[in-house]
Symmetry: C2
Subunit: 594 residues, 2 copies
């Protein structure tokens, strides 16, 4: 029976038939790799995800982490066991350099591998995902000593990592963090403050926890300028307990398998050498912490998009399985009331719900893998120009790669429930948990609204509009190839081309409004419309890879593309019309009118 | 501080300033009533909902009903206490005849009253809601003896009622139920079969539980024709335990406060007189059970719409309160990074999310109350013609009054979470529960897809299209009044008129497709587009009631209407375009393409 976690066939199509990732093996960095090593990693990931991650997904949801009276955290046993298998297989280190124990795998393969774990068990997958993000940042900006001290044990699976940005009063607005780091004569820092929403912030799953903490070091100026980045481990190198203390756990609607914590740094619970503050080590230069963090944010945001996609994808597969096995009712044309009931999938409206899910989750997966390949291109493309272009395109696509799956793969999960009917609303089936888990993804790593401001306020105008121009040119190249195809391709290419022109026109109108308040008033609408154009482009790309190939798999791709182009893309017309009108409804509303 | 359960001000506006419900008191049935008695009921409802229902909403969610080893059900204590206060206040009997102990209140007031309880605590409110539906049906179709025996104790709050339609293999398709009722010589029946999804199916909250059961009595023909309706009480009149046995409880994502059960009828656990089957009493005539049930279905479906609306409304009020108290970030035009953070509500995107919620929940509440007034009109309007017209309009509006709030007030709950950011995703706040609770409403009392088939397949074509014609004429009358208003009204009236014309044209195109399969292929899209047109009309109606009145409340109405007309109604263009194209994408998809 086919897996209901992810589709190997679709991954193979996207990676090999569309993105041709095997071509990467001709590059110096990936020369040890081949189609065989890629396949082996994907095969291994599917196997470990299926055998060690999926089985405890419901159990970890029903038995969320508990803070015990002694201040430690209890997590269901299966989590540690699964993570040990994961780390022992070397998967934490998938995309890292061989010289520090990595597989030196392309990012696009590492992401595809991780997607299996995200789909099988969002909660358990977060620990290695956060650890990888943490390690990536330290490799980029840390000293060789910091890499040896903290990254190597993380890649071995002995230490886990976190990102500590938010505070109780500062979530979207990092300018307002109050955690402080004071320099000491020995070059270390002492960190004091409380951090909120820290996933993986405390647990007994690893020997140590490496926190990357944003804190203000005096002298940097107001707002975000004073923010620095520090490594603050739970245990110092000599085993001394650092003054990092679990204050409490957050109890969430979903994503319950991941501990989510409030952490006190330097509150005196575990004083070190009788001095106040948790011991921290500066990463890179003082006052540049936010820039370091934001450099990694692209990857973190693409990672959130993958999580949303993975949850949507597995829900879709479960809905397909249910719709093919459950019988209920008869089609409208059935005349004989005594006729046997048909399978759910025979009903047009059920097929509509399945096509919608398919178009969302396969479109989102395509976008995530495309962005992941851009990460590889940014690092390993042949010329400076190619690397820079990849970086610019990744920048402009990132808010969409984060927000679009978070919105539409959640909708896919809602439709998966709907296909299941009342059963889907019960905890006996898997889909209600996926829906709860997925709702997080519009919130963390920058809310939906923040992504809209990032896209319209920064990404499309940066560098004189270079990002948008590059996006439009890249879409244009796809359209040009599609325009020489069959009638369907021409129909879709024409629609994508028109929507892209509209996007350009509307962006100009918005930025000629004269003041940023008016320009940005409907940036969420802009984000959503642009997202639909981008995903329509992803479907056009997939159709070109499908070409004239025959078989049910390719027919399914053609039909999902048709669904997206006919049912989904036309939504953007009303959105662009609204944006073009520079509507001031949200601005002209007084708080006391609510 | 204003209530965050419901808005008294908005209810007063809708009931008195818009619908002029006080005019009902000139009718014979309501002659004992007045604005004062109406206000007293609403006041009492707000008070009991606030003091007795809201406080245990979270507790009942966190401690869902448990089936004990002895087969009984444990429910948190507060539920029984709240329901006693509710019944003692006479609210179960609000809309029933005085002669059987009722208040003889108009349906529109009874619904407004119930809405307070649905918003305060969906789980607890379901018990009286189901009981009222059950009692309504028995009053309409039962014998005077049945009314005395079962209805009176229900109205006193001593007995509770259920509706037993679905079975494990027959949810949307009632033609396939297998529960059987066999007649006995004494005029009673013996009922055997298993019923699924029975809310309030077992508990110790009342002295008795009165089940209304759909079952097949031999001789009625295949499909739905043999279906009859029976009263099957948990305890017979003489106190004998009837053979109705709790098999198990369903464990749901939300709406956990209501027991939801699998019930076995006549499985021999509690045999009566040594004979097989649970004792049942026929309601009305044999083989007409489905017609009786469907007669009541309009009210049940409007009731589901109210539940969705109530959950959306309370979430909206909580989001407003949060957005007015929490500070975070600075607007785009702020230049000084050291400036103090502003309230969330100062951000345009937060106001967009609040306006969207306001336009959904106030639009849905208007529609629910409008339909409830039609129930009163159907029963008490002066002429046969008026009563019939009210019935026809109610018929065509019912699938929308059920499905539109279920879809868009759920979206409101999602936006309420989003306004709260990470906090909204935790169980420390109220909004995540509302979102879970509300997800049910697209499923029960006819799924979203079933409502689409009902609207396009039955309601708009019944009687040669009389329903749609009446709806269009009624909207047209509103448009005509609005066209003589100010520029905003004219703008909105023009938009509603255009969308209504489109609805008529598209309906004609769909029904000229030649076969029902093609006509109905996208009936869910038709349902959603029609819903938006209807709610836009509701906003136009509200604007007419607002007129030139001054003050923040009226300005808020104007702005929410503007939001709906500019941001929401334009969505329908793409939907109508798709429908007009008679798109066959969903039909031309093969099961093995998934």
């Amino acid at each position: 029976m086919a897996s209901t976690i992810l589709s190997r066939r679709d991954l193979e199509f996207l990676l090999y038939e569309w993105l041709d990732v095997t071509a990467l093996t001709s590059r110096e960095r990936f020369r040890e790799h081949s189609r065989e090593t890629f396949d082996a990693v994907l095969e291994l990931s599917a196997e470990i995800a299926t055998e060690h991650f999926a089985p405890h997904n419901k159990k970890a949801d029903a038995n969320e982490p508990v803070m015990l009276p002694d201040g430690t955290v209890e997590v269901v046993d299966e989590v540690a066991r699964a993570l040990k298998v994961f780390a022992d297989a070397g998967l934490t280190a998938a995309q890292f350099d061989e010289e520090i124990g990595g597989m030196q795998l392309p990012a696009v393969l590492a992401r595809a591998s991780m997607c299996w774990f995200q789909a099988a068990n969002a909660g358990t997958s977060s620990y290695p995902l956060l650890t990888v993000g943490n390690a990536n940042l330290l490799v980029e900006y840390g000293t060789p000593e910091q890499v040896d001290q903290w990254v190597r044990p993380m890649l071995e699976g002995r230490f886990f990592g976190t990102m500590c940005l938010s505070e109780t009063g500062a979530g979207s607005s990092l300018a307002d963090i109050t955690t402080r780091a004071l320099p000491r004569d020995d070059g270390t820092y002492r960190v004091s403050g409380t951090k909120m929403w820290i996933s993986g912030g405390d647990h007994g799953l690893s020997e140590n926890i490496v926190h990357l903490v944003l804190a203000k070091v005096p002298g940097g100026g107001p707002g975000v300028k004073g923010i620095s980045l520090l490594v603050v481990p739970k245990f110092l190198a000599d085993g001394t307990r650092n003054d990092v203390t679990l204050v409490g756990l957050n109890h969430k609607m979903g994503n319950r398998g991941t501990t989510n914590t409030v952490l006190a740094f330097g509150d005196g619970t575990h004083p070190v050498d009788g001095e106040p503050g948790a011991v921290g080590y500066l990463v890179g230069e003082r006052h540049r912490g936010l820039a370091y963090m934001f450099h990694m944010m692209n990857e973190a945001r693409v990672g959130v998009g993958f999580l949303a996609t993975a949850l949507g994808y597995t829900g879709y597969l479960k809905a397909v399985e249910y719709a093919k096995s459950r019988t209920q009712g008869r089609p409208p044309a059935a005349k004989d009331p005594a006729a046997r009931p048909v399978r759910l999938i025979e009903h047009a409206d059920v097929r509509r719900m399945l096509l919608a899910q398919k178009s969302y989750v396969e479109g989102a997966l395509a976008l995530g893998l495309y962005c992941s390949l851009l990460i590889d291109e940014q690092e390993t493309a042949a010329t400076d120009d190619d690397r820079e272009r990849a970086g610019v395109l990744l920048d402009v696509l990132t808010p969409i790669a984060k927000s679009w799956p978070a919105q539409w793969c959640l909708e896919a999960n809602s439709l998966a429930i709907q296909v299941h009917g009342g059963y889907g609303y019960t905890r006996d089936y898997d889909v209600e948990q996926l829906y709860r888990d997925n709702r997080l993804n519009q919130i963390h790593e920058g809310t939906h609204g923040i992504q809209g401001l990032d896209l319209l306020g920064r990404k499309v105008v940066a560098d004189g509009g270079a990002g948008l121009r590059l996006l439009v040119d890249t879409i244009g190249a796809t359209v040009a190839r599609a325009e020489t195809g069959g009638p369907d391709l021409v129909e879709y290419a024409t629609a994508v081309a028109a929507a892209t022109r509209r996007l350009v026109d509307v962006t100009k109108i918005l930025w000629s409004a004269g003041d940023p308040t008016t320009t940005l008033a409907n940036s969420s609408v802009y984000l959503e419309a642009t997202g639909h154009v981008v995903v329509a482009w992803m479907w056009l790309e997939q159709l070109l890879a499908v070409g004239a190939k025959e078989g049910a798999f390719y027919d399914g791709k053609r039909q999902a593309a048709r669904y997206f182009l006919r049912y989904e893309l036309p939504r953007t017309t009303a959105q662009f019309d609204l944006l073009a009108s520079l509507d001031r409804t949200t601005l002209d509303t007084e708080p006391d009118w609510f």
